[in-house]
């Protein structure tokens, strides 16, 4: 509990008409943790992270990032201050090269980082290539992103997230549609990322969750059903009946 709280939400609520997709959620994420958010379909996981990264405005409640109230901050400003989001449905620039895709993320970081100075051209190139190398796509840098296989497009998404140099990386169902071999590589990749950034992971694949997460938050009908270590969550009777299908 000594860790600094990076992100916190209080009473976070989002209603769509009569449906409260996210309902009075209190949430604290310490810096350096890998946190998984799980829950049955329709539990409000994606709505919840969309509130955190600013793609949706909350109906009630507040969000703090590094102690600052960001509840009313637009999404692009949140990204600039260190919250990166990778899309559930792959969203890349299909007609641009891999290099340009990642450079767009890397140059955003250079704009925020005023100490980088004017002569940032070389730095931009190095950071772009470094991010591509981490996901092992560097040899394809000049290829058009739309021509990649689905698995590679997911990796490109993650490279874009990494190139932003985020404090918090939100991964929305990153392993969806990946083959088993690709999932193994992905798990190793996220372990590496966790050394430098806090990770918030929405994931259906329980193997991945149990393998990666330090802590797990379980959502059900928009409310927090349980929260704890993987072992605690696995043992929780309420979670089992709601989700794990025991």
């Amino acid at each position: 509990m000594a860790a600094v709280t990076l992100l916190s939400a209080r009473g976070l609520t989002r209603a769509f008409g009569g449906l409260r997709a996210v309902d009075q959620v209190d949430f604290d994420l310490p810096a350096g943790q890998v946190r998984a958010v799980i829950g049955p379909n329709g539990a409000g996981k994606t709505t919840f992270v969309n509130l955190l990264c600013g793609r949706l405005a909350p109906s009630e409640g507040s969000i703090h990032f590094e102690g600052k109230d960001i509840t009313r901050q637009p999404a692009h400003a949140r990204v600039a201050s260190g919250i990166a989001y990778t899309f559930q449905i792959t969203s890349i620039f299909g007609k641009l090269s891999l290099y340009d895709n990642v450079a767009l993320a890397a140059q955003r970081r250079l704009i925020s980082d005023k100490t980088a100075g004017r002569a940032a051209g070389g730095l931009l190139h190095r950071r772009t290539m470094a991010a591509l190398e981490r996901v092992e796509l560097a040899p394809l840098a000049q290829q058009i992103a739309g021509s990649l296989s689905y698995g590679h497009q997911r990796l490109l998404e993650i490279a874009m997230g990494l190139a932003l140099g985020p404090k918090l990386l939100i991964l929305d169902e990153p392993t969806q549609g990946l083959a088993d071999g690709e999932i193994e590589n992905f798990v190793a990749l996220v372990r590496g990322v966790a050394d430098e950034a806090t990770v918030l992971l929405i994931e259906h694949n329980m193997g991945v969750v149990m393998n990666l997460a330090d802590r797990i938050t379980v959502l059900n009908f928009g409310k927090v059903l349980a929260e704890g270590s993987p072992a605690e969550v696995r043992a929780d009777a309420a979670v089992q009946s709601a989700y794990l299908g025991a």
């Binding site: 692009h76 990204v79 899309f87 969203s91 641009l96 450079a103 767009l104």
Partner: protein, 316 residues
């Protein structure tokens, strides 16, 4: 390798400028005049392409910015006796101001709504220019006296000076545009065209970048309008009609949206197509229309867009 690609592109663009420079000494008087006009209008199209080809915003209201440029120059010369150089800046400034205002309001909309809102602004501008007939002379327009169309020792109504002034405007516009589209800002503009939501989630404020593109493109239109008035000496409401919103779109589409040189190719092509066909038929616009349809069917990316796709992938 990247460095070489960039140099090749720069060399090509400087080469085109040099070629246009040499043409001045070679062209017969008639074509000399046409090319000067084409260069001014191609500068208008260069700016239009920044908004349409690179940022992906289709405006139907650019006549308003061209008109702001030509009237911003012509009116201060006629009403207040400003010298041509100051009037040129007044024209550019008018267009920048108008495009800022239009941008703040119109960029709240997207797609078809954006087209309609910009069209409405331009129509409102056109009607305004008719309403203030007393100053603008409306449809009839007014002539800028030859004696006033002088900057320093240069008489802008003299054909050689006129050609070089048009070329200077075009060359400055071309190099600014080349630098812009190869900069990191240019990359963000393209990202907005390709996937605005993704761009936003990489931390870019789309509104800010779209407004920037609109104002830069408005400044190009204003500079072209101002220069057109100075070089050809006529200012009138005809330059604010819908035609002058459609022209740059056509020129850009023909030459290749999202290519730096495309607008020049498109403008030249259209001018000479009209010129050649009207030599042997009164139905020249029919020929123009048919050629447009053919081009769009076989070269949907425009002339240079197709060249880039098939042979010169490095073309910016």
């Amino acid at each position: 390798m990247n460095g070489m690609v960039l140099d090749r592109a720069l060399a090509l663009h400087l080469g085109v400028v040099a070629l246009l420079f040499v043409l001045q000494f070679i062209l017969p008087a008639y074509h000399h005049g046409i090319v000067a006009r084409v260069l001014v209008l191609a500068s208008f199209a260069l700016g239009y392409n920044i908004l349409f080809g690179y940022t992906g915003l289709l405006s139907l209201g650019h006549a308003l910015f061209f008109g702001a440029g030509i009237y911003g120059t012509g009116l201060v010369m006629r009403e207040f006796g400003w010298p041509a150089s100051a009037a040129l800046f007044s024209g550019i400034l008018s267009a920048v101001t108008v495009s800022l205002i239009v941008g703040f309001l119109a960029l709240r909309t997207v797609g078809v709504a954006f087209m309609i809102v910009t069209l409405m602004f331009a129509q409102a501008g056109y009607l305004t220019s008719l309403y203030f007939n007393e100053f603008t002379r409306g449809d009839e327009g007014f002539v800028l006296q030859q004696a006033t169309r002088v900057i320093g020792p240069f008489d802008l109504s003299e054909p050689t000076t006129r050609y070089f002034a048009a070329l200077l405007l075009f060359a400055i516009g071309l190099l600014i545009k080349l630098a812009l589209v190869r900069s990191s800002t240019g990359r963000v503009l393209v990202s907005i065209r390709e996937n605005e939501e993704r761009s936003r989630m990489l931390g870019y404020n789309p509104f800010r970048y779209k407004l920037l593109a609109l104002v830069v493109s408005g400044a190009f239109a204003g500079a072209a309008g101002a220069m057109y008035g100075l070089l050809f000496g006529y200012v009138g409401a005809t330059f604010v009609t819908i035609q002058y919103s459609i022209f740059p779109l056509l020129w850009v589409l023909l030459g290749g949206a999202g290519t730096v040189l495309g607008p020049l190719v498109g403008t030249l092509f259209m001018f000479y197509l009209v010129d050649l066909t009207s030599g042997f038929t009164t139905a020249s616009l029919l020929v123009v229309g048919v050629s447009l349809v053919v081009l769009i069917l076989w070269f949907p990316k425009g002339l240079l867009g197709t060249v880039r796709q098939r042979v010169l992938p490095w073309l910016p």
